[in-house]
Symmetry: C2
Subunit: 390 residues, 2 copies
C-alpha cells in the first residue's frame, strides 16, 4: 500500500492470493435483473446489519442498538489488554501505543451523525446487489477519544505525506479479494482537529459492533471512512490503492470506469413517520387533525440551511422550522405542522438543502455500486377520520 515502508499485513490485495482464492464463493458485484426481487444474499446482510428504526429519530443521541450498523466481515474478538495501535509509514518515528497510553493523551468529544454510503441502495432501479439499505442507515452518537493529529505529529510526518491509511481488524473476502478492512483519508482530513480515535460511544466504552476497543471518527464523511477495530495507521506518500478506496466506494456507472471517490455525506432529511404502522406493510395510519411532523437533517459538506416538507407528494413544498444544531456534523432537528384534513392516502416528503446549495434530488442519479444516494424520503400515510370527527 505504501511503497516507502512496510505494508499492513493482510490488507486488500495482500498475501491472500498466495494460498489460493476462494473460488465460487466471492463473486464480482452485479446489478439486479429488471424486476429481480431481493436475494437471499441480500437478506442475510439485512439480518446482520441493521438500520435506524425511523421512530428513533426522536432521540438526539441514538441509543446503542438503534444506531445503524454495517460490518463488512465479522465483528472481531479483540482483547483490550493485548491491544496495540501502530503508527508507521512515512513518519520519522514509527510508534506503537496501548490503550492506557492513548487514554492518557488529550481528550475530545464530538456529536457526529454517521451514515452509510450505501443508504438508499435498495431503492435504486436497477438495484446494485450489496447490503440492501432502504433509508435508515444513519445514527448519531457522542464519540469521545483522543484527537488523531497530535499522535501523527508525535510520529513526525515526513515530507511528501499525502494520505493516511487506517487498518481495521475485521477480516474477510470481498469480490475475490481477501483483506482486513482498510480505508485512507487525505492528510488534511486526518489532521483536522475533530478527527478522533474514539474509545467511547454515548459515554460508555465502545460496544463490540461499533469498533471496540478503538475506532476512527472522521466527522462529515460517510461511514466507510470511520474504520472500526482500528489497529494500524500508515502514513502514505502516494494515494492508497487498497480495495475499499480504489475499487469499492466509488461513484461510477460502468463496470470498467475508475469512478470518483465517495467522500463526504450529502445532504439528507428524514421524517419520523407520523401516526402508527401496519405491521407488514409499514404503511402509516394518521387520524385527521393537526399533525406535528418532526425529523432530522444533516450534511457532511456545509451546514444544513433549509428543510422543506411536501404533504402532497412533491407538488408543493413549505419550509420546516429548524432547531438548534447539536454539533457541526450532527443532525439538526426540524418540525412542521400539517393539517391532515382529507381522509385517504397521502404521501409526505422532506428534503434538505445545505449552505453550499446542495439539495436532495427527487430521484436518484444512479451509480452501479449504489453509493451516496440521497433521494428525498417518501412516507406513505393513510389519513382516516378521527374518532371524534365527522
Amino acid at each position: 500500500m505504501d511503497g516507502s515502508t512496510a505494508a499492513p499485513d493482510r490488507s486488500a490485495a495482500g498475501p491472500a492470493a498466495a494460498h489460493g482464492p476462494a473460488e465460487g464463493i466471492s463473486l464480482p458485484a452485479r446489478i439486479a435483473e429488471p424486476g429481480e426481487a431481493i436475494t437471499l444474499d441480500e437478506l442475510r446482510l439485512a439480518g446482520r446489519n441493521h438500520a435506524l428504526p425511523l421512530e428513533a429519530l426522536r432521540h438526539d443521541l441514538t441509543p446503542v442498538g438503534l444506531h445503524y450498523l454495517l460490518v463488512h466481515y465479522d465483528i472481531p474478538d479483540l482483547d483490550p489488554a493485548g491491544f496495540r495501535l501502530t503508527v508507521d509509514g512515512a513518519v520519522e518515528r514509527p510508534l506503537t501505543v496501548d490503550l492506557a497510553a492513548l487514554r492518557a493523551g488529550p481528550r475530545a468529544a464530538h456529536t457526529v451523525t454517521l451514515e452509510c454510503a450505501g443508504n438508499g441502495r435498495a431503492l435504486l432501479e436497477p438495484r446494485p446487489l450489496s447490503q440492501p439499505w432502504l433509508d435508515g442507515a444513519v445514527g448519531t452518537a457522542r464519540w469521545e477519544g483522543t484527537p488523531l493529529a497530535p499522535l501523527l505529529r508525535a510520529a513526525g510526518l515526513r515530507p511528501g505525506a499525502v494520505e493516511v491509511a487506517f487498518l481495521g481488524a475485521d477480516h474477510g473476502i470481498e469480490r475475490g479479494v481477501e483483506q482486513d478492512y482498510a480505508r485512507a483519508l487525505p492528510l488534511a482530513e486526518a489532521l483536522r482537529p475533530d478527527t478522533l480515535l474514539a474509545d467511547t460511544m454515548n459515554g460508555a466504552p465502545l460496544p463490540p459492533q461499533h469498533g471496540a476497543p478503538l475506532r476512527l471518527i472522521a466527522p462529515g464523511w460517510y461511514g466507510m471512512a470511520q474504520v472500526k477495530w482500528l489497529r494500524r495507521i500508515t502514513v502514505l506518500d502516494r494515494p492508497f490503492d487498497g480495495f475499499q478506496n480504489a475499487v469499492a466506494y466509488r461513484l461510477k456507472r460502468g463496470a470498467d470506469e475508475t469512478g470518483e471517490p465517495v467522500t463526504r455525506i450529502r445532504p439528507r432529511a428524514l421524517m419520523t413517520p407520523p401516526g402508527f404502522p401496519d405491521f407488514m406493510s409499514r404503511t402509516r395510519v394518521v387520524d385527521t387533525g393537526e399533525q406535528l411532523l418532526t425529523g432530522r437533517a444533516w450534511s457532511g459538506g456545509a451546514p444544513v440551511a433549509r428543510v422543506e416538507v411536501s404533504c402532497d407528494a412533491g407538488a408543493t413544498w413549505a419550509d420546516a422550522e429548524l432547531g438548534e444544531p447539536l454539533d457541526r456534523y450532527a443532525w439538526l432537528p426540524w418540525r412542521h405542522h400539517w393539517t391532515a384534513d382529507r381522509p385517504g392516502p397521502h404521501q409526505l416528503r422532506v428534503r434538505a438543502t445545505d449552505a453550499a446549495g446542495a439539495v436532495q434530488p427527487a430521484d436518484q442519479d444512479w451509480n452501479r455500486q449504489g453509493m451516496a444516494n440521497n433521494a428525498v424520503q417518501r412516507v406513505d400515510v393513510l389519513v382516516r377520520s378521527s374518532p371524534g370527527g365527522a
Copy 2:
C-alpha cells in the same frame, strides 16, 4: 378480553373498527408463491428487526445491539416519570404502581435466552410472509427486576383466575386488527418465581427498544410472551382471546384451523461460524488444520442434554463437549474439535437434544405462520490449503 372486569383499552379487536379499518394497507397473512423471492415488505421488516450476528455467540451475555430484536409496531416513546403499571381484572384489589414502587419491591435477576418464535421462518419452503428471520433471532441477557407473583398476590387473585394478560404500549395494525400488543400466560406460568417484571438488561436500564421502562420476562417461552413496554396486567377468568394469542402465534397448516398455541422454546443449537466470511455470500473460509468449533444450545422445555456436530452434512454425528449452564433458561456453551484436512466445500451442522428427549429435526415440519422452527443449522464452509501446508 375479560368478561368480568374492564378490558385494557385499544387491545386487539378493540375500538378500532369504530372509526374504520385501514383498508388496503393491512392485509391477511399470505404464503410466498413457489419460487417467490423476498418481498419489499419483508426487507423493510428485516431492516428494522435485527438478528444476532452469529459471531456474537461468543459472548455469554449478548451486548445490547447484538441481541435479536423484534418490534411489532413502533418503539413507543414513554416518559418514565409518568409511567404507571395497572394490575386489574379478576383480583380483589386492583392496583396502580409507579416505577419507584416497583423498584422498592423484592428484586431478582435471571440470565435468560430469548428467541423469536419466528426464527428460521425465511428458510421454510414455502415461505410464510412476515419478519423474514434466517437463524439468528436469539440472544441472552441478564434481566433484573421484581418477581411478578408477589405483585399478583398483593392484588389478590380471585377464585377462577386462569390466565394473566400483559398489555404493552406499542400500537399498530396487524392483518386488519388495530391493537396495542398484548399477550397472556397461563396463571401457573405467571406465578413462577422466575417470571419477572424487568427494568434492567445486562446491568443497565432497559434500552428503548427492549421495553423501557418495564417489560415481562417469562423464562423458557418464545419472545412473543416477553411483553415489552408493559403497562397493564389483567387477570382473566377465561382464556385470553386477544389477537396475539388467538390468531397469531399458532401452529397450524390450514388458514382456517384454530391451531395449537406457541409456548416454550424448542431445543436449538447454533454454531459460531468458523474461519472468515465472504462479504456478500457470507460463505465461510477455513484453512486446513485443527478447528475448534464453538456455539450455544438452549431449550425452554427441559435442560439441554446433548449437542451433536456433523462435519459431513449430516452423514455422521459426534457428541460435542458441553460447558456449564449460566442459568436454567440460558444457553449452554458447547465445543467440538474438527480436523479440516480435506480442501473443498464442507457443510457443518449442529443439533441439540433436551432432557425430555426433544431433538431438532433435520428439516422443518412446516406451519403456515412459520412458528417454532428449530431445524438444524447448516453452515457452508470452504476449506482451503493452509498457508503453511502442502
